[in-house]
Symmetry: none
Amino acid sequence: MAMGTGNTSQLSAGRLEIRPEEHAALVDGRPLGLTMRELQLLATMAAHPQRIMTREELFTEVWGGQPRRDDRSVDVYVSRLRAKLGEALPEVRLIHTHNGIGYRFSPDG
Amino acid sequence: MAMGTGNTSQLSAGRLEIRPEEHAALVDGRPLGLTMRELQLLATMAAHPQRIMTREELFTEVWGGQPRRDDRSVDVYVSRLRAKLGEALPEVRLIHTHNGIGYRFSPDG
DNA sequence: CGGCCTGTGAAAATCCTGTGAACGCAGGCA
DNA sequence: TGCCTGCGTTCACAGGATTTTCACAGGCCG
């Protein structure tokens, strides 16, 4: 493992690496084409592995402020994220849905 | 690092942890996929270890109000709960039936 | 302009819930 | 012992709630 920049936070999940500081998410060193929002959302979830995060919590972390009562932004971006992650890592399911609550990031599928 | 969210209550039973505040029941740190009702029921029983709780008592705590005379909701959810717990913890029997009375949660099998 | 990102609305798909009913087990009794 | 009966367990299903996905309009920037 490289010892270069010590203070960049780096989140890992198997073959997936997330470097929020560098605005990049990599699979086997190859960048996924994530947009800003998608990356922010992924980084936020990956920062709390195995923890069930509510939509509200995720919205506050990523968008800031309070979500509208019937806001579906989080869901839509989770969907877009899953689509891109699914292409690069077809055999793993990193993001799990918890009905009535929110989502959970699991590094080991 | 300090504990992020102030956990007011944490129920434990061997390798099983229940955190109602976080909507989670964990085995070895991995959440098992409980639905809301299943989690509520488990949390309620686990909050009174070794105590035989009647169906009526459980229904009132989880569903609220009085159960119908021939209501089987508690039984059905206990069954669903046992199925999921049995997959994650095959060697222990946490929920015991007390004929004619109700159910009892035993942390040590 | 042309292309991409964003958030919203709404249809489609999926999951959860409670109920009825079938099944099995245990205890009581002749 | 063998049968009967009551209770607990589990299956299947319909209705409702929730999530997933698609399509689109507006905004931003090269």
